[in-house]
Structure formats: structure tokens, C-alpha cells
Symmetry: C2
Subunit: 181 residues, 2 copies
Amino acid sequence: MNLEEKTLDNSVVYDGKILKLVLKDVLLPNGKTAKREVVAHSGGVGVIALTKDDEILLVKQFRSPYEKTVIEIPAGKKEPGEDPLECGKRELLEETGFTAEEFIPLGELYPSPGYCGEIIHLFLAIGLNKSNQNLDEDEFLTVLKTPFSKALDMVMSGKICDSKTMVAILKTALFKANRKV
Amino acid sequence: MNLEEKTLDNSVVYDGKILKLVLKDVLLPNGKTAKREVVAHSGGVGVIALTKDDEILLVKQFRSPYEKTVIEIPAGKKEPGEDPLECGKRELLEETGFTAEEFIPLGELYPSPGYCGEIIHLFLAIGLNKSNQNLDEDEFLTVLKTPFSKALDMVMSGKICDSKTMVAILKTALFKANRKV
């Protein structure tokens, strides 16, 4: 079955600091046309940092879209063209003050593919060393060192709802079950 | 530590069919102000439907933001005020032609909390019965009946990247490991 939609035209409705909103005219497989609203984004990186004592570093920050604090792994926006690993190292250091000896790729994540084009790259960081936290001027967050088993409980019980954080913790749990880390 | 941002003003930049783009002026904890770009969305529901033969129903469809097909669990947009469970039943039936005897809540998911306000509700559906697929007019998709173990491999190897699908499969894997389903 042919599923492809061909883009006939697109217009940028809004071009901002974090995202771009694009309105597309597409040709459907049945020959009809439709509109697609697309949020374009340069991508993100999330890092699950596991200590020798089997704890992970979580960050709690206020998230305007939900008007409340949300618990997440350290993460940030990738600059266009920036290498995901370099971005991950930078964000881990800036947000938590830790560097890591090894970054294991945990794959990519599409947050909400119906309308959002962001790709989030995930890494598992091990061999942590304390350095200095260096937040952006308008960034306010609290770092929570949390036992891995407790973080997994928080995912399963709904206290952690952020998609990249859920996937990173759940994938790490399976890696741990298979004794890969 | 006070993390709260107070919204001082907001303006709707775009109000579309799927999403709304809102530009906010916020007061930061340090007394300075900042802009926040927020994608508002009425929410979504995803359903992981598990057959008696330990297979799940996946749907493959073209996703305009990535300009390619993406493999996902059956899912759809919640109408404002609609009950998540009713939405999940409807989307499962429309997209796959299956009804289910039981829907077990798998919690909520925030796709990308930095700028997106969508909440995706997840359910595990069991006791499936075949009825009739009923796609929207501009909806084109293929249903893939996939052994659960293969779907889990697809998550771990990066063939499945959609966040709600990853979380639903990974959470179900842990439930199965604990013999809850």
C-alpha cells in the first residue's frame, strides 16, 4: 500500500528561538490534498547518567507548557549541525556539573510524530566525575540524585512522565537486566 | 529552591486544526523576564493491543514532520474534554478494526516538555475481538501484527522510535516480566 504524502507547498507561519511552525499542503495517496501543521525543531539530546552507586541524576525544572515542575534527565537543545554526543556532554556538564568517561548511545526518539519533527538523541553516561555546574542565565533547576530502582518505580507509577526520561530509564533497566551495564 | 515561572502575558500566534502556538512572557525566579514558545494541544491517546498469541498491533503511516513512514501503536488526538479511555477505544477500532474487553491504564506521557503541552494517555488493551476498520478520509495506514518479542527488539534496536510506542512496549515488557499480564 502506498502511504506517501508529497509536499506541494509549505509556508513558515512562525520562526522562533526554539521552534519553527510550518504549514504544508500535501498530496495524499488518493490524489486529494490536505493541510499538515508541522513543528520543526533542530533536535535534542538527553543523558541518563548512572553513578557507581547505581544512582541516576535527574533534574527538576519548571516547564511552561504544563505550568508546573517536571522531572527529567539532563537534556538540551541541539544547535543545527551540532554533533549529538558533544551536545550531550555539554548539557550534562552545564546542568549537573558532571563529566562522564563513557557515553553509550541509547538510540533516537520521536516525541510526537503526528505534528512534531524533533529527534531526541539518548545516551547512557557512565564513569562520572564531578566538575562545575554552569547553567544558562535563564535556566533554573534542581539536581536530584536518585537510586536507579526508585527512578524506575517513578516511571512505572507515573511520577516521571517525560518521554525521553521514561525511555532512557526503561531501556537502561532492560540493559541492566541483560547485564550489559 | 524556587523554580516557578509566572506567566505575565500570552499571545496566540497560530490557532490551527491540530495545535495552537502560544508566545508567553514569563517572570523568572530571579526577577528577570523571558519569552516561552509553547505548542498547545488537546492531548492524545495511544493503545498497545496485545493478542492472545502474544502479538501486538502496530500501524505504519506517513508522518509529514519526518517525511517518511513511522511505526506506532494505534493512537489519535483527543477532542477537548473527551475521556481518554473513550478516545482510545475509538482510535483502536478506527485504525485497526479491533475492540478490546479490557483497557489497563499505562499512565501519561509528556512528549517534549520544553515547548510542548500535549499529554498522551496510554492504555494496554487485552481480550481483542475483530470488528471493522474505519479510517478517517485523509488517513492512510497499514496494520502490522507483530510478535511482542519482535516489537521489543525493534524498540531496543532503534527500528521503533516513536516515544509513546517505545514507552508502551517497554512498560508492557516490565509488566509481563512481573507476570501482571
